[in-house]
Point group: C2
Chain length 340, copies 2
DNA sequence: CCGGTAAGTGGGAGCGCTCCCATCCGTGGG
DNA sequence: CCCACGGATGGGAGCGCTCCCACTTACCGG
C-alpha cells in the first residue's frame, strides 16, 4: 500500500484540457443538467483522451455518500442455507441494483474480528446501507448498525418485534396454508417436523400449524411435534420418531424441504406410501430444488421478491431516513406436486 | 443518499476534547509510535467518549489507499464450481486477511453493466487490489484491471502465458500422478473424461495424462478421450461412450470428481466392478466432498494454499508494485481411496 | 553551564471532489 | 436602446484525513 498508481488524471486536469471549469466537468461526469451540448461533448472528449476516472474517495468525502451497499452474511448463513437460497437472494438483490449506480459488496462476517472490521468499514462511510442475511437471535450486528444510524434491512427477524427494518416471508401463513390443505384432503393426524425452537422462523411455522388446526376443530397434540435442525438427516430421524409414536399418522408438515426429503426417505424405509398412506408438505422451494421422489408439495418462499423488497426499502431509507422501522411480510405460495 | 448521519465526530473534535493536536490523535488512531503513554490514554478516552470512528473516505483520499481488496466472481464461477470450491477459497482468503486491516469484499460480475461498474469502483480507488476467481478465456476483466495498474491476482489462468499474476494448481502434474498410479497398478487401457477443451485447466489435465503414458511406453489413443463439461451427468454419458468404444477398458481418469461420480454410476449400470474391473480416479477433492460409493480415489487441489498464496502475492504487489508478473503453481496430492 | 540530540507534539498543506454562489452572457420585453 | 431574467459557467470553500516538517521540551555528555 502507500503506492500511487501512476498518472491518474484529476477533474482539474480534464477541465484544463477541455478549457472549462471544474464545475462543468463535474456536471458532465455526473450527468447533471445545465451544460450546453457542445460543451458537454468537448468535456467528454477530454475525459476519454485522459482516461479519466473519478476518485471515489474524494467523491465520498465531498458528497457524503459511498454509492455502495453491503450484503452481510454470517458464518451461520453460509452453511445453513446452502447455495440455492443464497444464490437467489444475491441475484435478486443484484438485479434490483442494476439500474442504480450502487455497487453491491458481499461481506462475510465469521468472527468478532471480522464483525468489528466490518462495523468500522460501514460506520466509516464506505457503504450507504447494509442488507443483512438472516440473522441469529444473539447477533449484535443489527443493533450496532442501527445505533450507528446506518440504513439497515434484515432478511427475516430475530423475534416478534424488531427495531430494525426487515423483510420476511409469511412463515405462519405458509404453514397454515399447508396444513389447511392437508386437513381439507381428509388428513387429521398431522405430524410436524419443526425447526430449532430458538429460531423465530421455526416458531412462526409451528404457529401456522396450530392456527390451521383450530378452525378445523382438530386438537393440537404436542406429541405430534418433533424438532429438527433443518437438515435432511434430522428430518429422517424426526420422521422415524413420529412413526414410532403415532403409527396412525396420515400426514406430515416439515418446516423445510430438506427435512421433508429426509422424511420421505424414512417413510419409504418404513414401507409407507406417499401420499396414499402419508401426505407430506415441505417448506422453502428454493430453486433449483433437488427433485425428490415423488416430487414434493411445498410452500414456496418468494425469494426473488424478498431480495427486491429489501433493496427497495434500503434505498428508501438511504434517501429519506424515515423515523420508523418498517416490517414487510411477503406472501408464500403453496406449490402442489405429488406428495399431498 | 445525500443524507448525513448525525454527529459523526471528527479527528479535530477528538483532538480538541483531549487537548492535543490533530497529529497526535491520528497517531493514536493508527497505532503509530511516538506518543507518550499518558497522552495516548487521554486520547483514547476522548475517542471512546465521542464514539469516534475514522472517516474512511478522508483516510483514503489523504492516504492513497483503501484498506480493502475485492474478490471477484463471474457468473460462470458462480454456477460451475458450486459451493465447496467457492467456500474453501473464500474462507482461506478471509483467513489470510485476518491479521491485516484489509476488508474483503466479494463482488459478483454478471453483466457488462456490472463489469463496468466494478472497474470504475476499483479504478476509483475503493480497493487496493483484486483477486479474480477462475476466469474464462474471453474475460476482459483481468486485462482491464492490469491496464489500470491495479494489483491483480488470478486463480487459475486463461492460457499458457498470462501477463497477470496467477496462482494455479499443478493440473498437469496431478493428472500425471493419477495416471502413473493407474499404470503402476497394471492398468493399460486408460480412458479419460476430459473437461471442455477450450478451458486451459482441461487442457492441462489432458496433457498430464499424455505425459504419464509416454515413460510407461503406452501409446496415446485419442479414442480413449471423451470430453465432458465437469458435470456429473456429462461424466455418466462420457463413461457410457467410453465403454461402448472400448469394452476392454480397465481404468478411467476423470478431470473432475463430479464427472468421476457420473462415471461410477455408469460403470455400475454396466455391471463393471470398481476397482476390480475398472479403476477410477477423479480430480478436485473439494471439501466436504459428497462421498461416492466406493469412496473415490482422486487428486486433491490445494485450495487452502491457493487462497493463502493469492492473498500473499496480492499484498506483495500492493506493497511493492513489482515489475514482473508472478506465476505460482501449487502441487496437488493424490488421495488414495477405494477406486484405484 | 551550554550546545546537541532525540522524543513528543502541533498544525500547514494538500488529497480530488461536490456544493453552491457569484458571475457572465444572451435574449426578450418595455 | 436599456434592463431584467434565466441558463450556463467558473471557482471558492470546504469534506476529514495523512504526511511531514517545524517546533518544543527534556535530558545527555562535554
Amino acid at each position: 500500500m502507500g503506492r500511487q498508481r501512476p498518472g491518474t488524471p484529476t477533474l482539474e486536469e480534464v477541465a484544463a484540457l477541455a478549457g472549462v471549469g471544474r464545475g462543468t466537468v463535474s456536471r458532465v461526469v455526473n450527468n447533471a443538467a445545465g451544460v450546453r451540448d457542445s460543451t458537454r461533448r468537448t468535456v467528454q472528449r477530454a475525459i476519454a483522451e485522459l482516461g479519466y476516472v473519478p476518485n471515489l474517495a474524494a467523491r465520498s468525502l465531498a458528497g457524503h455518500r459511498a454509492d455502495a451497499v453491503a450484503l452481510v452474511m454470517t458464518e451461520t448463513d453460509w452453511r445453513l442455507f446452502g447455495e440455492p437460497f443464497f444464490t437467489e437472494i444475491v441475484h435478486s438483490v443484484g438485479d434490483a441494483l442494476t439500474d442504480t449506480p450502487v455497487q453491491l459488496l458481499l461481506t462475510l462476517v465469521r468472527s468478532d474480528t471480522e464483525r468489528q472490521r466490518f462495523v468500522e468499514y460501514a460506520r466509516g462511510g464506505r457503504v450507504d446501507g447494509v442488507l443483512l442475511m438472516s440473522v441469529h437471535a444473539e447477533d449484535p450486528l443489527p443493533d450496532m448498525l442501527a445505533k450507528a444510524g446506518l440504513p439497515t434491512v434484515m432478511l427475516g427477524r430475530r423475534s416478534g418485534d424488531e427495531s430494525v427494518t426487515y423483510v420476511d416471508a409469511d412463515n405462519a401463513g405458509g404453514a397454515r396454508d399447508a396444513v389447511t390443505h392437508l386437513l381439507k384432503g381428509g388428513r387429521d393426524t398431522i405430524g410436524v417436523i419443526g425447526g430449532p425452537p430458538d429460531m423465530y422462523v421455526a416458531q412462526c411455522r409451528l404457529r401456522g400449524y396450530r392456527e390451521a388446526l383450530e378452525p378445523a376443530g382438530v386438537e393440537f397434540r404436542s406429541s405430534l411435534v418433533v424438532e429438527g435442525d433443518f437438515s435432511e438427516e434430522s428430518g429422517h430421524r424426526a420422521m422415524r420418531d413420529l412413526l414410532a409414536r403415532h403409527p396412525e399418522l396420515d400426514a406430515v408438515f416439515a418446516a423445510s424441504d430438506s427435512m421433508a426429503a429426509g422424511a420421505l426417505n424414512a417413510l419409504r424405509a418404513a414401507g409407507r406410501r406417499v401420499p396414499e398412506d402419508v401426505a407430506v408438505i415441505g417448506f422453502d422451494d428454493f430453486q433449483p430444488a433437488r427433485p425428490t421422489d415423488p416430487p414434493l408439495t411445498t410452500v414456496r418462499q418468494p425469494l426473488e421478491a424478498i431480495g427486491r423488497t429489501m433493496v427497495r426499502l434500503l434505498l428508501e431509507e438511504m434517501e429519506e431516513s424515515p423515523a420508523a422501522w418498517r416490517h414487510v411480510i411477503l406472501p408464500t405460495e403453496l406449490v402442489l406436486r405429488d406428495t399431498a
